[in-house]
């Protein structure tokens, strides 16, 4: 019998399609285009203890088959989120994954505690944002730090914890193992690849922040390989992301070992992208009479 439901750390998702953090706000704007309850889940914009203004503009540069961003975690802060967006989202029939970030280990612990007050079903640890000068990157690079920050949050957080992994590391599967050792209930990968876009006339980078995070279809091959590597390294579920634009991209990620996926940049190209992917997946499993879970990790190597 055909099935699209998936289960991540005990949380049931209607389908494997989650919208990626930072591309979907808190669901309000896209809710004007389609019912967000149709999605498997939504990941919130990265939240921090205090309001963050983010980086100066320009914060985006298009590149071939992708884009760079350097938003710098602009967000209204956890208090504002709990008072407003969390309450609004609680009324929607959708799994909410709260993406939390910090500059220090204490920040992460404090966020891990505060998020217990929310209605979010799960927490995604943003330890790999390339656009934040302190913290962010540092926690996501070395396996021992990945393990430490995951464990610290797990000790205080009552919700399942997903550690989001950076691809800007020497061996991502070591970091997946480190997250698992730290008690992560799942890992999500890949965050954006560090990159730069340059204007030859002005001899300056296009982004005011100089560097940014690369996303979009151009990163998909990198992401697929990393998902496969991590699938072979850990037992916890993997949420795959990186350039997913169509339902066939989702199938490829699941075959490489992802139990669910996230859609990011495609939301910008088409505001209904994630919704369209869900509907296409529904048609696919029905037509082929399959349980989507049966695809996970079925890659046949040559």
């Amino acid at each position: 019998m055909s099935n699209l439901k998936v289960n991540i750390a005990g949380v049931e998702l209607k389908n494997p399609v989650i919208t990626a953090s930072g591309t979907f706000g808190f669901g309000k704007e896209y809710g004007e285009f389609y019912p967000i309850s149709a999605l498997g889940g939504i990941c919130t914009k990265g939240l921090t203890l205090r309001k963050r203004d983010g980086n100066p503009p320009p914060r985006v540069a298009e590149t071939y088959g992708g884009m760079l961003n350097s938003v710098g975690l602009q967000n209204p802060g956890i208090d504002h989120y709990l008072a407003e967006d969390d309450k609004r989202l609680a009324k929607e029939d959708v799994v909410v994954i709260a993406n939390i970030a910090g500059s220090t280990l204490d920040d992460y612990v404090a966020m891990g505690e505060r998020i217990n007050e929310s209605n979010a079903a799960m927490v995604e640890l943003n330890i790999s944002c390339p656009n934040v000068k302190q913290g962010g990157m540092a926690f996501g690079v070395l396996p021992k730090n990945v393990e430490e920050v995951t464990r610290a949050v797990k000790n205080v957080c009552k919700k399942p914890v997903i550690t989001k992994l950076s691809p800007n590391v020497s061996c991502i599967s070591d970091n997946a193992r480190a997250a698992e050792a730290g008690g992560a209930d799942a890992v999500s990968l890949i965050n954006t690849l560090s990159g730069m876009a340059v204007n030859y006339r002005t001899r300056r980078p296009i982004l005011a922040n100089n560097n940014g995070g690369l996303s979009g279809p151009c990163v998909k091959p990198v992401a697929l390989k990393m998902v496969w590597e991590c699938y072979n390294a850990v037992k916890i579920p993997i949420i795959g992301l990186g350039g997913i634009t169509t339902y066939t991209d989702v199938l490829e990620f699941m075959i490489c070992g992802a139990r669910a996926v996230q859609v990011g940049t495609a939301n910008f190209t088409d505001p209904t992208a994630a919704y369209d992917i869900v509907r296409d997946l529904e048609a696919y499993v029905k037509e082929n009479d399959i349980d989507i879970n049966d695809l996970v990790g079925t890659l046949i190597l040559n």
């Binding site: 591309t23 285009f33 203004d53 503009p57 914060r59 298009e62 992708g66």
Partner: protein
């Protein structure tokens, strides 16, 4: 706000490096002046839509026009779209400009002039005094269209090759005391806003500007197009696409 399939009616070069495109829609929402639309490019290597101000519109014919300068690969690709082809377009976006007064001064700098015809079309009961500035005669656009709508139009070019010579802001400031507009709306490059701030310093009427920024989603979710404003609660970033693109010049941090 909705994504719609538009049929390209016309797409032709109208000035040096400037093109004019008319898009027809099956259904049409009310458009305010200074709102924008977001075009999905036919080239799939380009993942971001291209935002353009709605240059003009016709609610009865269900058309919206875009007047655009060719500045990069995206706009270059757009020039290759032929009449009869379809484009996916999101509109109308942004807060727009709805004048409260009766007598309005509009100032356009270069491609910023492209936003002005729609402001006039959307407000048929107001009197418009329009000042357009361009680099040279080859860049002049929309003068005829604005006159046809009954606006009082003055054109200046930096090199004097067409109309008055020099910066249009100077002529607008000279006319200000005589025209006595209830408000001013300016659209142009940032350097123009700095000049306007200086030469209109101390005037008692509201002065609005429309900002431009590289955009991601175009609908307020991604926060990449933010600009800095100064408000009662301090300085902070707001979204050009959703909170703008029109702001009071006084609150914009340039």
């Amino acid at each position: 706000m909705k994504d719609r399939i538009a049929t390209v009616i016309k797409n032709a070069r109208v000035a040096d490096g400037v093109w004019y495109m008319t898009l027809a829609f099956d259904d049409f929402e009310e458009v305010k002046g200074a709102q924008f639309l977001d075009v999905k490019l036919p080239d799939r290597s380009k993942v971001l839509r291209r935002p353009f101000c709605i240059c003009d519109f016709d609610a009865e014919k269900k058309t919206a026009d875009v007047c655009y300068a060719v500045v990069g690969g995206g706009t270059q690709a757009l020039t290759e779209v032929k009449a009869g082809e379809k484009l996916n377009v999101l509109l109308p976006l942004g807060n727009g400009y709805v004048p409260a007064g009766k007598k309005i001064m509009l100032i356009g700098g270069g491609m910023g002039s492209a936003v002005l015809p729609a402001v006039v079309t959307a407000n048929p009961d107001k009197a418009f005094f329009v000042y357009l500035g361009f680099a040279n005669a080859g860049k002049v656009v929309l003068e005829k269209e604005l006159r046809a709508k009954g606006a009082d139009v003055t054109v200046a070019t930096d090199d004097g090759s067409y109309g008055k010579k020099g910066f249009v802001t100077t002529y607008a400031r000279e006319a200000f005391d005589e025209v006595k507009p209830d408000e001013i709306f300016v659209c142009g490059p940032e350097v123009m806003y700095k000049a306007v701030r200086k030469c209109f310093d101390g005037i008692k009427v509201p002065l609005y500007v429309s900002l431009e920024q590289r955009m991601g989603c175009g609908i307020g979710a991604c926060l990449v197009c933010n600009c800095k404003v100064k408000r009662a609660d301090g300085e902070g970033y707001v979204r050009v696409c959703k909170d703008g693109p029109v702001f009071l010049l006084d609150e914009v941090v340039l």
